[in-house]
């Protein structure tokens, strides 16, 4: 006979004196990081389940937003321990936040997930010490524009000298971990150090009188891997009547840190960006990466305990614009080169679910002469890129991508348009993987606009 392990609610436990401390968790004050009101606000209605890519793949409650929140509640109430399984479940989530769109109760899942990962990481540091590679990436590489540039130069050297091709042809590429080896094929030609040095600090409006002075948020990954898209963004904004400045001292937005549970690192980066923006005096700071944009617009959530910075963050947040958003607010672009093409659009999760920007990119695409826009099925469902998810959870990411490509292929497009660097790499990889690179190209929306403008 089964034990009938009983009828209890988890909250009964925490009220119980003499509950043993959580094994593997040295610091119970860690659990105070969870906001019980936010957790309790999830009524377990399950409306988020069909929106969740990992639930759709697995059919398992542990891989659903409702399940993950329940697990957070279990940990917060000391019914569950912070162990490897909990960590795995928190990191199996793409963080795409499609569940937030589906949730009628307004549960702020994204920030709850960040807290859960912060708890996991802090607990690990306290019990195991941090992995060196993680430390190097989050403490050394991302916060430093110089180091990122070095990484870019190294990548450029590899490409320029044909090492990349050599690596592929000799099979050297096979010693890279499989995800990295496969993904590198999706990366564009890296900008040369010379190109970077020649970059203009200000791109002037092509209209006689500039309507706005905007800063361009360059991003970390974006500027290394997709330098040309940043340059195209400046060109498009200039044609829309903006003076565009590459403002000094800006750094990575901190989203990757926050999503990976490195909140302190994220906050440091946020402060530097706020300072850089304030010094520049521009009207708006424009970004072309849905993921960065969502983080930039949520800086105020990171300063709950710091009123002075909170106020500066609120001001900063009010001046953030996604490229799609600002272009539809400005007078329409005058295109001079029709593109005779079928185009479909893949939503960036943090643009659609995080910032609610869905119509603007579609309207921009439709405004290009000669374009036939075809909406794909489940366009706002994650492509599986999700920051570094396609490297950390390669197989799940590829399962999700393969489903995505089925929907893409159905629309028979010439272009699959995205609006975020991570999605762009993933969709490029998806096109290669599906063997349809002779039929379609994955591009950033700015590239498409730029091609129709020049």
């Amino acid at each position: 006979m089964a034990s009938g392990s009983g009828t209890h609610a988890a909250s009964g436990h925490s009220a119980n004196p003499g509950v043993p401390t959580v094994p593997g968790c040295t610091d119970l004050s860690l659990l105070n990081k969870f906001d019980m009101n936010e957790i309790m606000n999830c009524m377990q209605c399950g409306f988020c389940l069909p929106a969740c890519p990992t639930y759709r793949q697995t059919g398992k409650e542990t891989a659903s937003p409702r399940g993950r929140i329940a697990l957070m509640k279990g940990v917060a109430q000391e019914s569950l321990t912070i162990n490897d399984e909990f960590e795995h479940n928190m990191y199996l989530c793409l963080g795409c936040r499609a569940c937030e769109t589906a949730c009628p109760a307004g549960v702020p899942y994204g920030s709850m997930l960040e807290t859960a990962r912060e708890v996991v990481e802090t607990n690990k540091k306290q019990t195991k010490g941090q992995l060196l590679i993680r430390k190097v990436i989050f403490d050394q590489v991302f916060p430093s524009p110089a180091r990122l540039k070095t990484a870019g130069t190294l990548l450029w050297t590899a490409q320029a000298t044909g090492m990349q091709k050599l690596a592929v042809s000799t099979g050297l590429v096979n010693i890279l971990p499989k995800p990295m080896a496969e993904m590198q094929a999706a990366i564009q030609t890296i900008a040369s150090p010379m190109q970077r040095r020649k970059r203009l600090k200000i791109v002037k409006s092509t209209k006689p009188k500039a309507t706005l002075r905007v800063g361009l948020f360059l991003g970390c990954m974006m500027d290394v891997l997709f330098y040309e898209i940043n340059q195209a963004t400046a060109r498009v904004l200039a044609k829309a009547g903006c003076d565009v400045e590459m403002i000094e001292n800006q750094v990575c937005c901190g989203a990757l840190h926050a999503h990976a549970g490195e909140k302190a690192g994220a906050i440091e980066l946020a402060k530097r960006n706020i300072e850089a923006f304030e010094r520049s005096g521009v009207d708006y700071l424009v970004n072309n990466a849905g993921g960065c944009g969502a983080a930039l617009k949520e800086y105020h959530h990171w300063f709950h305990d710091d009123p002075a910075w909170m106020e500066r963050a609120m001001n900063f947040v009010s001046k953030q614009r996604d490229i799609n958003e600002i272009l539809t607010e400005l007078p329409p672009l005058t295109f001079d080169k029709p593109l005779n093409a079928r185009v479909t659009y893949q939503d960036s999760c943090h643009l659609a679910h995080g910032q609610g920007i869905r119509i603007q990119p579609r309207d921009l695409i439709k405004s290009i002469p000669g374009v036939t826009y075809v909406e794909m099925n489940r366009a706002d469902s994650c492509c599986g890129s999700a920051g570094i998810y396609n490297i950390t959870n390669y197989e799940m990411s590829m399962d999700i991508l393969d489903d995505k490509m089925e929907n893409v292929k159905e629309t028979q497009p010439n272009y699959v348009v995205t609006s975020n660097p991570g999605c762009l790499i993933q969709m490029k990889h998806g096109v290669n993987r599906a063997g349809v690179s002779d039929q379609m190209e994955a591009v950033h929306i700015v590239e498409l606009l730029d091609r129709a403008l020049s």
Binding site: M1, G6, H8, G46, G59, G74
Partner: protein
């Protein structure tokens, strides 16, 4: 805990990928959409075929291990909470629509098919499966059958039981049985098909479903009417039906609900009104036009302040979406939301709604009421906080009184959510001692060892209290009794 032997047998049947029993996995199947109920299973299995279901049931039956069938876990009666532990059997992998028979107007599919996916599949062929429970985007058809799900189209089209024609069942002994079928008329023996619908997983596991389909109505119109008084709204419902018009949908939201929905959906609801009716009629265009005009007339006669016809499909969808979001939008107000479904014959709608308000005041609890006005199925919904034990106690008292009031008006304790664990203590109010006794004997005939979803429908004792959950001493409630002061809902 399952024995090593049982564990390895189950693993052999479903395979590694579909057997779950780690700490997190068990925890994730310890709850469903019902607030306040939680209990750990010993294992979770996801069988991929009828044969696998049969093999699992044989093992469980031989060893008296509880089996809790489960779909997406969106029921509101604690029906899939494994209150006596055992094996949670998730049938979501059986999610193929095998056939849509356009000659016989039937569909045949696995229990894991999502309700909304069935809707989409049949509607592509111009056919119609009417039941549309609030959770239809994620609820499974297996779950709909188990709970006899209703929805917003119940008034004109009925509920799940009116559409289920045939079932494939697996009995606890592992026998596979086919009941009913595609015949429009079939009186060969007891109607076991109907008996299974709404049996809440306490008799057998459903492994395939055959449902009746209708032609998809040609057109649909949606309208809203706003009222300064609750009774005016309720009287409109009665007058429309008395005028021999059966609308597809007549939904009702009270002021408190409207405020919360407006806050969430921003569709311009006039929140100074006391109530609103959402009315939908479908059918042939001329008929729909005529009905809607007539309903509008009646609404004004009965005191509606404003009547609006949705001008576009988009507008209509937005209005209906607001109603669909009502429950979850209410959950924004307070951490815990308890939704009930006391139902009365529709002529007593106004009386029942007023009683709910009086009872809420008496116990000083916050209750919003919305629901399916056309079929008298109300959803008095209480916003509370499960951490406030004293308030929860008052909530419990209030609901007890609401159930009594419904019964007194010739109603029932549950219209469409099922009894499960949440209302087990009140079943006797509705069916009486003899009714419970007969139902228990029916269960014993199907499930002599009592392994099928034990602890559901029938209360463990005669206490008319919402049993279970939160046992503060940490023991299993089934092991010893508590006095009232210690237990909560």
């Amino acid at each position: 805990m399952l024995s090593k032997e049982v564990r390895s047998e189950l693993l052999q049947i479903v395979g590694d990928k579909y057997f779950m029993d780690t700490e997190n996995e068990l925890y994730a199947y310890s709850y469903d959409s019902t607030p306040l109920f939680q209990s750990m299973p010993d294992a979770v299995v996801m069988p991929g075929s009828t044969e696998e279901i049969a093999a699992i049931l044989k093992i469980a039956n031989a060893r008296r291990i509880p089996i809790v069938p489960r779909g997406s876990g969106t029921n509101l009666c604690g029906g899939t909470v494994p209150v006596e532990g055992g094996i949670v059997m998730n049938t979501n992998r059986l999610n193929k629509i095998r056939e849509i028979d356009q000659d016989n107007l039937t569909a045949s599919f696995g229990p894991g098919v999502i309700t909304a996916d069935l809707h989409a599949a049949v509607e592509r062929l111009g056919l119609f499966y009417p039941p549309d429970p609030g959770s239809m985007r994620i609820s499974t058809m297996g779950g709909n059958v188990a709970e006899c799900a209703g929805g917003m189209r119940g008034l004109k089209y009925g509920v799940t039981k009116d559409y289920i024609m045939g079932l494939e069942l697996v009995l606890p002994t592992g026998e596979i049985l086919h009941v009913g079928g595609k015949n429009a008329k079939d009186v060969a023996g007891y109607d076991l098909t109907k008996l299974m619908v709404g049996s809440e997983g306490t008799l057998a596991v459903v492994s395939n479903i055959t449902a009746k389909l209708l032609p998809l109505p040609e057109t649909k119109r949606t309208m809203v009417a706003y009222y300064r008084s609750l009774t005016d709204a309720a009287r409109t419902v009665q007058r429309v039906i008395a005028a021999k018009i059966i609308p597809a949908t007549m939904e009702f939201l009270d002021q408190a609900t409207m405020k919360v929905v407006e806050d969430f959906a921003r569709i311009g609801l006039p929140c100074d009104m006391q109530a609103m009716l959402l009315i939908e009629q479908d059918g042939m265009e001329a008929q729909v036009e005529r009905d809607i005009m007539r309903i509008e007339e009646i609404a004004y006669q009965e005191g509606a302040v404003e009547v609006r016809l949705a001008q576009t499909t988009d507008e209509a969808n937005k209005l209906m979406a607001a109603r669909r979001a009502a429950l979850s939008a209410l959950s924004r107000v307070k951490p815990t939301t308890i939704l009930e479904d006391a139902t009365v014959p529709r002529a007593h709608l106004a009386e029942m709604t007023e009683q709910v308000n009086v009872i809420a005041k008496k116990y000083n609890v916050q209750i919003c009421t919305f629901g399916h006005a056309g079929d008298g199925n109300l959803h008095p919904t209480c916003m509370t906080d499960e951490r406030d034990k004293e308030e929860i106690h008052r909530v419990e008292k209030a609901f007890e009184e609401i159930f009594h009031a419904a019964i007194k008006l010739g109603g029932t304790i549950t219209g469409e959510h099922g009894v499960g664990i949440a209302k087990a203590g009140y079943l006797e109010l509705k069916v009486g001692e003899a009714g419970i006794d007969l139902m228990k004997r029916i269960k014993a005939a199907f499930d002599p060892n009592g392994i099928m979803n034990p602890g559901k429908i029938f209360a463990k004792s005669d206490r008319r209290r919402v049993v279970v959950s939160k046992c503060e001493c940490g023991h299993d409630e089934t092991q010893h009794k508590h006095d009232d002061s210690k237990q909560s809902v």
